[in-house]
């Protein structure tokens, strides 16, 4: 690989680039799905290519190709410089990326069992078992169970002298079941919705979450939901389970702390952020029990890696400390920009730039943005709640383009009366404004309930990029929340 990377960097600099990097990326994916007893998907995909990113005339350029040959490297590296020079036609200042990052290293996802060593038959058998368990429940209309595996091998080299090789492995699984009646459809998912729960891990992850052991329970809940009453409409105390809270963190904390977004680079598509720079270190994001970190070293997290796609080491950053907003997700360019107004801010990027493959430019992405655990158990939290509602597993989500007004729906909910779970209700929704909502958080459950949930479908950027992000959460309680918007 070194021959190719050296050639690309030499060509780019020879054409006038003041900075250049190249990423050579191979993604191998295996997808299996079983629906109502039939294998619907059995596919192996292999995607390979390289992308060259440069700064020339003080502006960015990027070009990519699926053909790794010397001739194509020359063409693409030169094209990236040409594009950068075109970008410079409209610039009002030169790009600055701060101090050099020079690392020669390698990283591989820690795992016990390589999922690509497990036979397809064994994987299909596991899914068929889950499917059979789910469909043994009378009244179920549809069961779909899936497994997915990813191996991404990538080489990063820069004109500053970095050369980093990484192999990231992900394993994921899930089952979704539907029950239908006239004008109604109810859904349950395990361990999480969005098709599957996923982590940077080997096949041990599949064994741990035991799909067949939970499929029947999910199916029974879906069928029961059909005859459950509608979620009431009122303002009350809300307890969220870990998976739903993970998406709440993702949408209302993870996105607004992306510093590129704060500076407007996503304004036309994903939007901007209410967490503007003057709020850094000077804004109450939530209550005293709210502590959030961005940590690319969290074991099994879907946002766990050795280096980001700018070659910056993975690290942990405080985001919200005892309710105060204290940190952003940064890139080399945005970290430099922040220092101009906040000289006390870190000089270097905290390593969150990731690209969705060889043909996309890296942008600031969440790694594992997590809510740190608190003290009570879930039983203690429910017992301490006189009147409220417990909502589980995301079904719908929406938030405004500054990440303030949100509305979520969940697959399942139970009323809480006098410290005990009451009747099941369907079509539960809740809505709020981000700082007020987190300001009403008065308890987070303990580490025994804390898991890193994976969000494998985070969209951002133009052309659209899909990122895999992780969020560690335990159930938490929120006061004075409006529920039941239909």
């Amino acid at each position: 690989m070194r021959d190719y990377t050296t050639r690309a960097l030499d060509v780019a600099q020879g054409k006038g680039a003041s900075y250049a990097d190249i990423r050579i990326v191979r993604r191998e994916t295996q997808d299996i799905s079983v629906k109502n007893g039939i294998v619907q998907t059995l596919s192996l995909d292999d995607d390979f290519g390289f992308g060259v990113r440069v700064i020339a005339n003080g502006a960015w350029g990027f070009a990519s190709s699926n053909r790794l040959t010397e001739e194509e490297i020359d063409r693409v590296a030169a094209q990236a410089v040409t594009i950068a020079k075109a970008s410079a036609l409209t610039k009002d200042r030169d790009v600055e990326i701060g101090p050099a990052e020079v690392h020669v290293d390698s990283y591989a996802t820690p795992m016990e069992i390589d999922p690509f060593d497990i036979s397809l038959e064994d994987k299909i058998d596991e899914l068929m078992s889950a499917d059979k368990e789910a469909r043994s429940v009378t009244g179920l209309a549809m069961a779909q169970s899936t497994m997915g595996f990813l191996r991404e091998t990538k080489t990063f080299a820069s004109s500053e002298g970095s050369f980093i090789e990484q192999t990231l492995v992900e394993s994921g699984l899930g089952i979704t079941v539907h029950a239908v009646s006239e004008g109604e459809m109810q859904q349950r998912s395990y361990p999480n919705s969005f098709g599957r729960h996923q982590g940077t891990a080997g096949y041990e992850f599949i064994k741990k979450w035991d799909l067949p052991g939970h499929a029947r329970g999910a199916a029974e809940e879906a069928v029961a939901l059909l005859s459950a009453p509608q979620c009431p409409s009122k303002t009350t105390t809300l307890i969220l389970d870990g998976p739903q809270l993970a998406l709440q963190v993702h949408e209302s904390c993870g996105h607004p702390i992306e510093l590129d977004r704060v500076y407007g680079t996503e304004a036309a598509f994903a939007g901007t952020s209410f967490l503007t720079p003057e709020k850094l270190g000077n804004f109450r994001y939530g209550s005293e029990v709210v502590n959030l970190v961005a940590d690319a070293t969290t074991p099994t997290g879907l946002g766990t890696y050795g280096y980001d796609d700018e070659g910056v080491p993975a690290q942990r950053t405080d985001i919200v400390k005892n309710g105060e907003f204290v940190g952003y997700l940064t890139s080399r360019e945005t970290a430099s920009q922040l220092r101009k107004t906040h000289p006390e801010a870190p000089e270097r990027s905290n390593g969150t730039m990731r690209a969705d493959g060889w043909n996309r430019v890296p942008i600031v992405r969440m790694n594992n943005v997590s809510l740190l655990p608190g003290e009570p158990t879930l039983d203690e939290l429910i017992a301490d709640t006189d009147d409220g509602i417990y909502m589980l597993t995301n079904k719908s989500w929406s938030i405004d383009d500054k990440r303030l007004n949100f509305q979520f729906g969940t697959e399942l909910a139970y009323e809480i009366k006098n410290g005990k779970l009451g009747q099941m209700v369907k079509n539960a929704t809740y809505t709020g404004m981000t700082p007020q909502f987190w300001g009403g958080c008065d308890a987070v459950c303990n580490v025994g309930h804390w898991h890193v949930w994976g969000t494998p479908n985070c969209g951002k950027g133009q052309p659209m990029q899909t990122a895999h992000t992780g969020h560690g959460t335990a159930p938490a309680r929120f006061r004075n929340v409006q529920i039941g918007i239909m």
Binding site: S396, D401, T431
Partner: protein, 448 residues
């Protein structure tokens, strides 16, 4: 651009190496570029060249799929063997009948040499026209200008051999002040049909007019939705309800209600991959020619779209040419939706409104209840109050929670012109009018 000859050669290489009972090969070529700008400057400027090959092998009723973007002869032969090996591990799919037989496919011209050859410098100059207007008004512009060519070749061992090449150019911008924003966009096959200066002018006008917004209480209002907002509702209606798979599984509003009135008389909706007002695609990802499919006729539910798998479940049904690449668990989807226009102008819509809300576009829309077609989302980039037949003041953005079919039952006026709207997802392109709709439910507000 790779060209029909080379894509056919790749497909033939796969088919000649295949030993399965049936084999399908899908070859996709793309040459895409996008110039992105923010804070009145270009900050991302990218290009991509790629060819990928996807093989579906059928052994008896066992199906295996493999794909790669290494298109060397040796790799393609390995790919075929991989797909066949996967199929051999499979269990039988009793529902599978056959890959599609060849049908006559109408060739459609959807290619613009100007778009295919558009340079980074040309895109940058187009962006410059938008930035010039933004800077002149002390505003901040962001957006994207993209051009590209996509090629599609589908062949199978039963004789299907279909090739299509199309270009698409699009430009969009959001122009902002400290407390306001305006949006405009345009998409066309030929990049010369785009007018970046006009896009900039519209967005600047909205950004200026939406400064100093005030709040309004949530509730039911008459709305005038611009084309982008209507296209978003059409997209979700297609995705949630008009797939034969959703109908067959009982999770569509159409399930058990075909032939019934589900929307107002004004609403006629269809899917047409041949209409040059939209994005032309004459066949689907199984090589089946697209049919024009009527979905809603004057508010009556009259159809759904099918692929081979869903058609085989219903006696006498044929695919309507709406299949997606294998393996496809989503089912067929309409990706070229059209709504029949009305006879009103936007000025007439405003003039006829006693009290209402003008919506430029929606943000982050998602289904709350798919069967009821209930959506939630936010307004953004230009929301205004209408009083006594004229726009009186800008509004802070609102959250809506509204059933699409209920809204389409309350349409009072549709505009006489359709606008092509390129959706943010895949190759979905919808042609939509603006709409005046009564009793539209807003359920929340935000701070800007």
């Amino acid at each position: 651009m790779i060209g029909k000859g080379e894509l056919k050669r790749l497909a033939d290489t796969v088919l000649s190496a295949a030993s399965a009972d049936q084999t399908e090969v899908l070859v996709q070529g793309k040459d895409l570029a996008l110039t992105r700008f923010a804070a009145n400057s270009i900050h991302q400027n990218v290009s991509e060249t790629d060819v990928s090959v996807r093989v579906r092998s059928i052994v008896g009723k066992r199906i295996g799929v493999a794909s790669s973007n290494d298109v060397s002869d040796a790799s393609l032969k390995t790919l075929v063997k991989k797909a066949e090996t996967i199929a051999s591990f499979q269990q039988e799919n009793p529902e599978f009948t056959s890959l599609p037989e060849p049908l006559s496919i109408r060739e459609m011209d959807a290619f613009s040499e100007t778009t295919a050859q558009c340079s980074a410098e040309t895109r940058a100059r187009g962006v410059g026209e938008i930035l010039e207007q933004s800077r002149a008004n002390d505003l901040v512009a962001s957006g994207a200008f993209s051009t590209g060519t996509q090629e599609l070749m589908i062949s199978n061992s039963l004789g299907v051999s279909a090739y299509h090449c199309g270009t698409m150019a699009s430009a969009m911008t959001v122009i902002m002040s400290d407390d306001s924003s305006g949006y405009a966009s345009s998409a066309a096959q030929d990049v010369n049909a785009l007018d970046p200066a006009e896009i900039g002018r519209i967005a600047v006008d909205k950004a200026v007019r939406s400064a100093n917004p005030t709040s309004i209480d949530p509730g039911e209002y008459t709305v005038i939705l611009e084309e982008d907002a209507v296209a978003t509702m059409m997209f979700f209606l297609g995705y949630l309800g008009f797939s034969a798979l959703a109908v067959q599984e009982g999770r569509s509003f159409l399930s058990g209600h075909l032939g019934e009135k589900v929307a107002g008389d004004a609403i006629t909706l269809w899917d047409d991959g041949f209409d040059p007002r939209g994005s032309v695609l004459p066949f689907d990802f199984e090589g089946v020619p697209k049919q024009k499919v009527m979905l809603l006729d004057r508010g009556v539910a009259v159809g759904a779209v099918y692929d081979s798998a869903t058609a085989s479940r219903e006696p006498g049904k044929a695919s309507t040419g709406h299949g997606l690449p294998a393996p496809n668990t989503m089912g067929p989807v309409p990706i070229n939706l059209f709504m029949k226009p009305g006879d009103a102008s936007k000025k007439e819509m405003i003039a006829s409104t006693k009290r209402g809300i003008w919506v430029t576009r929606f943000h982050y829309v998602n289904p709350v209840h798919p069967v009821k077609t209930l959506l939630t989302g936010m307004t953004r980039d230009g929301t205004f109050l209408i009083e006594d037949g004229r726009i009186t003041r800008p509004l802070k953005n609102l959250r809506f929670t509204q059933s699409i079919l209920e809204a389409f039952s309350n349409v009072e006026m549709l505009s006489k012109d359709l606008q092509m709207i390129k959706m943010d997802f895949g190759n979905f392109v919808n042609c939509a009018p603006a709409a005046k709709i009564n009793r539209f439910a807003f359920t929340g507000t935000t701070e800007f």
